[in-house]
């Protein structure tokens, strides 16, 4: 299955971890997926199914045991700022202020820009996530939601070709999560970003994604199902639930997850 204008090709990726006791664990087996430029794809599945493993492979933080990943026809061999990650636990540097955290990324990625240009990029991105008032604060002085906004601003400031999000809103309360989802959706739409997000929240996946990729249980997790989300854009997180297709799509995802859970329990009880 090749999408025209494909930006990313995940070609038969298998990931094996060698454990300390000499045995090995097959996390992913034979993952094949094409992602088009400007597409928003969610990876969903039960914990331990290798969602984050696949995201790390896309980021280049680890290398596939078999198969490979192509971005614009070039193989991913190491991490780089064209595939910026928004990490699950924000990964802000605690000794830098909000502004300095973003500035570090900007000056590393744009060494050729003038200080004035860099400062403008930093300030623009702080504004985009509504953090101007907190720009001089240290991460320890911010709430979880604010930290996540800094992490997103830092990622967007360096204009990655691919934005990778690892359960970005998992640790936030429902209200904050909803607001941030809306903001992220707008930013992605405005800057025509390509994004891959790991989540275990069905509603989050449906709201943000063009396609939801369901991974089967590990070990040797594969793609169990791909669900296109044809809901019209721009989407609104409350209005989207009134769309006639919404509950049918949601049911499809829930069914998949429930089937996987049953398989998991069967596997556990037969062991």
């Amino acid at each position: 299955m090749t999408t025209p204008g494909g930006l990313i090709t995940i070609d038969s990726v298998t990931q094996v971890f060698h454990l300390d006791d000499g045995s090995h664990y097959v996390a992913l087996r034979g993952i094949k997926l094409d992602i088009a430029a400007g597409e928003f794809v969610s990876l969903i599945g039960h914990s331990g199914c290798g969602k984050s493993t696949l995201l790390n492979l896309l980021a280049g933080l680890s290398q596939a045991s078999e198969g490979g990943i192509l971005i614009n026809g070039r193989q991913v061999t190491d991490p780089g700022p064209d595939r910026m990650v928004v990490f699950q636990n924000y990964s802000l540097l605690p000794w830098l202020t909000v502004r300095q955290n973003i500035a570090l990324a900007v000056s590393t990625v744009y060494p050729g820009h003038s200080p004035q240009e860099r400062r403008e990029i930093v300030e623009r991105n702080i504004q985009a996530v509504h953090l101007t008032g907190a720009a001089s604060k240290f991460p320890a002085e911010l709430s979880g939601g604010m930290k996540q906004r800094v992490a997103i601003a830092r990622a967007l400031a360096i204009r990655p070709r691919l934005l990778l999000l690892d359960e970005p809103f998992g640790a936030l309360d429902a209200l904050t999560r909803g607001n941030l989802q809306q903001q992220l959706m707008q930013i992605c739409q405005e800057s025509k970003l390509t994004a891959v997000m790991v989540t275990h929240d069905v509603d989050e996946a449906l709201l943000l994604s063009d396609r939801v990729v369901c991974l089967s249980n590990g070990p040797a997790a594969g793609i169990g199902h791909i669900l296109p989300v044809p809901l019209p854009r721009p989407r609104d997180r409350l209005a989207v639930m009134d769309h006639p297709d919404y509950y049918h799509l949601r049911a499809e995802l829930i069914h998949f997850l429930q089937d996987q859970r049953r398989l998991k329990q069967l596997a556990a009880s037969s062991r």
Binding site: G80, P94, W95, L104, A105, T108
Partner: protein
Amino acid sequence: MTPTPSSSRRPRRRRLLPALPQVLPYLFCIGAFLIAWQLLSAALGVARLPGPINVLIDTWNPYISQPFFDDGGTSKGLGWQILISLQRVALGYGLAAVVGIAIGGLLGLNRFIGKGFDPVVQVLRTVPPLAWFPISLMVFQDANTSAIFVIFITAIWPIIINTAVGIQEIPQDYTNVARVLRLSKRAYIRNIVVPATVPYVFTGLRIAVGLAWLAIVAAEMLKADGGIGYFIWDAYNAGGDSSSSQIILAIVYVGVVGLLLDRLVAWVGRKVSKGAG
């Protein structure tokens, strides 16, 4: 709760003695300690163990009232003696800090060297300070240099170990950020390794300053001209009437200076690692 006459009287008393509740535990416990000491002194006899009052009377003139008298030679006030010791500590400890952070940094950044040298560090760090003194005297042929070397070699191990551990314990979150942004080695060290390691380094520096002060007093007792350790040993050898009082006074000074050194390093550490952690 209804206001009662007693509750309206209490704030006034608190205003008269605002610090009393804070200092009461210290007053009570230290007082009890001094009384127990005085009683023990009375039981043993003042000649064997002077009580706190005897110490004050015996050493008031010149040791307490004139900390900076100088009668030439090694007959100096306790202020001078402590400054002589502090000067040695400053040299040895300063050297240990510079060399220790450099070696610790190397051991932390390079996995191969860090693993290879670990047994050496683990063995040498347990050597008691004074065990270094004879070999140091043989090498340097000079008591003052040897004393400084003993401080250096005593203080360096916790600095090396804590620096190396601090670097090895840098959370993977931070190194992942560095990898994704493709920070250069220099930018990585400046923006991530150094700030992430500073709290560990200061833990090491704080342990080291305590050990250094411990070592200087012992080294000066063995062989030195001047210094607070020399003063203690000299007073013991002199065996005069007020000798034991002089020794006790010197011990109190050693303790207070050691505490101040510890607090000073902790304070600098807090200032330097502001924002982190």
